[in-house]
Amino acid sequence: MFTYLLEKEFKQLLRNKFLPRVVVILPFAMVGFFPMVANFDIKDINLALIDQDHSSYSKRLTGKLVSSGYFRLTEKTANYSEALHAVDQNESDVVFVIPPDFEKDLVNTQHAEVQIAVNSVNGMRGGLSSSYLMSLVTDFSAEILTTKAQGASQLTAATCEVVPRYHFNTHLKYSYTMIPAILMMALAMLTGFLPALNIVGEKEDGTIEQMNVTPVNKFELILSKLIPYWIVGFVVLTISFFVAWLFYGMVSAGGYLLVYLFATVFVLAFSGIGLAISNYASTIQQGMFIMFFFVITFVFLSGLYTPVTSMPQWLQTVSLFSPLRFMIEALRGIFLKGCTFSDLSGHFWALCAFAVFFNSWAVISYRKSS
């Protein structure tokens, strides 16, 4: 009995004109192109410079800012309000003012000031641009003071060297952070939306009534809807691995077997959500909208865009109800950090709990009588 049901589902899936194509093309496009766009890397900051000093120090400082690679000198003016207008027009992001007597003050009193005005409509970009600028200025002032101290033949200045190192993503490539997350998004979109649309589609077509009059029980029916998407999940995952390697040269530090293991449970959980929702929606439009609502909520709470640890405490607690959070942490852990199963066992059991919960909900909420 069950095998016939399964056969029906596979036939429906494969007979559909575009679904099999979507399953292949979507992960290809998402993993291939999104990491180039989905990027919070802060670079090419447009700098408007107001140099009122025109001294050798101010030129050295400007040279240092430009050669840091973060900044692009777009405007050189003597007028502050003109520079601010350029910020209004989005032509510059940062205004950097070197006041007159900058060099003189630095030489005589060892103390000088510079002014920085940052466009912080985008708080993240504003914050990081100003901290880049400040650390460059601090470096510059340390350089000047050290050479001066040495010039004055004092003892070596008391300094220490700070060496930053980054683990797991040595070159801080943003695409490496995003690929596991986008891979999961592709997985979630296909294995969540398609089952949600499947049952609603049958409702709209009226074929669901034919199913309801058969002696098939609810459990078997839901299971037969689940298994095809489970397999779709593996196809999506394999394509994504390939694309990540081909386009970005990214290989999982913790191996692929563990990723498949996590995906097995995750796809079950997410398809379960889709199926449960489709039980409540009566039209495709409704089903899509409810699903969209849940996906958006889960995604924002998952830490895909911003780290969960930055959120307010109450929201961090709410985020424990998002299966995506556990999946993203697990995938980033495996891909970037090379985590082992024992490192992530908590995440695994949480996903299992989600899978059991949502699928039981899908079975219970399915009504054979209308």
């Binding site: 890397d41 940052v118 708080g123 100003s130 220490c160 924002f300």
Partner: protein, 347 residues
């Protein structure tokens, strides 16, 4: 129906509170092999800082990679041998900051905060009193002094929600009537086609206006994002954007036959590009040039830039003329195209 009104509210709350990149309470492990007054002083500074939470101080070298892998530690401060002695005499004291690079921006921020703490200690111990030597930068954060994430995301969410309701919902609902055959009943009625189109779009126009009001109220009263510019200009600008999207929805619905296709087309052509390319989440300047060009054809991109200018920067009509004229141009093109392509006859 309820969800169309609820979705923007939930999204704004989520964006407002979840989209912060503030780095607080970073878990720090310190490996301090020299254990002298200077390193202890720096460690005390770390403990006192709101950004850091020192979870462990070790006095012998140990491999902490496993703990960082499990996320128990996000930053390791590793002092070199005989730190203070080298600091005072040879100037070759070393401290390594090892950060978890899984999230690059947080990692950079953490390292820059930690460096600032060490530098402050260094300057104090170097014996400077009064004004600290060196260059003092004064930073002014324009438009958004508290660097709230909401300032950036409210205009983006508005751009997305209005698009979603107007374009996506309109196209699906018309496709639905076609699929069910109710469209034919309407077409054979004595109603003028133009009236029918207008009647079809008005509910979505109303819902959009309600949503716009909700978004503005929420952002002002809950998220604390003030409307710096002219409210009338803001509403007028949004209305033009709403018309562009309604026309786009009509255009899509006249090209497709079924709901599912309408859904997929509007998802692929509207939803995904708007989320990724409109500047709602990701800065357009950071994208590869090809995507920067692609973003120019999105109405949402122009709308979001314009709304940011009016709402956050408080600019007037003269400063948003480019955005305004592009949107008006798009409105004219799409409305003409959708009226032309709307099929008045039965197939």
């Amino acid at each position: 129906m309820a969800i169309m009104l609820l979705l923007p509210i939930i999204m704004l709350i989520l964006f407002g509170f979840a989209m912060t990149t503030e780095v607080k309470h970073t878990k720090v492990a310190v490996v301090d092999t020299s254990n002298d007054p200077m390193t202890r002083r720096i460690i005390e500074r770390f403990q006192a800082s709101a950004y850091f939470e020192v979870v462990e101080v070790l006095h012998h070298p140990e491999n902490l990679d496993g703990r960082m892998r499990r996320g128990e530690v996000q930053l390791i401060v590793y002092f070199g041998k005989s730190f203070q002695e080298r600091f005072n005499h040879s100037g070759k004291a070393q401290v390594a900051l090892i950060a978890d690079g899984t999230d690059p921006n947080s990692a950079k921020t953490r390292v820059s905060y930690a460096t600032a703490i060490i530098r402050t200690c260094q300057q104090e111990l170097a014996g400077a009193s009064g004004i600290s030597p060196g260059i003092q930068p004064t930073v002014r954060l324009l438009y958004n002094p508290q660097m709230k994430g909401a300032y950036n995301f409210v205009p983006g969410v508005m751009g997305m929600i209005l698009m979603l309701i107007c374009a996506m919902m309109t196209s699906i609902s018309i496709a639905r009537e076609k699929e069910f055959g109710t469209m034919e009943i309407l077409l054979v009625s004595p109603m003028k086609p133009l009236h029918m189109i207008i009647a079809k779009t008005i509910p979505y126009l109303v819902i959009s206006l309600v949503n716009l009001t909700n978004c503005l109220l929420l952002s002002v009263f809950m998220l604390g994002v003030p409307i710096a510019g002219n409210l009338i200009l803001l509403v007028g600008f949004s209305l033009i954007y709403i018309f562009v999207n309604l026309a786009l929805g009509l255009l899509i619905s006249s090209l497709v036959k079924t709901q599912l296709v309408a859904l997929l087309v509007s998802g692929m052509v509207l939803m995904i590009p708007v989320i990724f390319l409109s500047g709602m989440l990701y800065t357009i300047e950071n994208m590869p040039v090809f995507f920067q060009w692609a973003s120019q054809i999105l109405p949402a991109k122009w709308y979001i830039v314009g709304i940011k200018n009016i709402m956050i920067k408080g600019l007037g009509l003269a400063d948003i003329l480019p955005e305004l004229s592009v949107l008006v141009g798009m409105a004219v093109v799409f409305i003409t195209a959708s009226l032309k392509s709307f099929k008045y006859r039965l197939s």
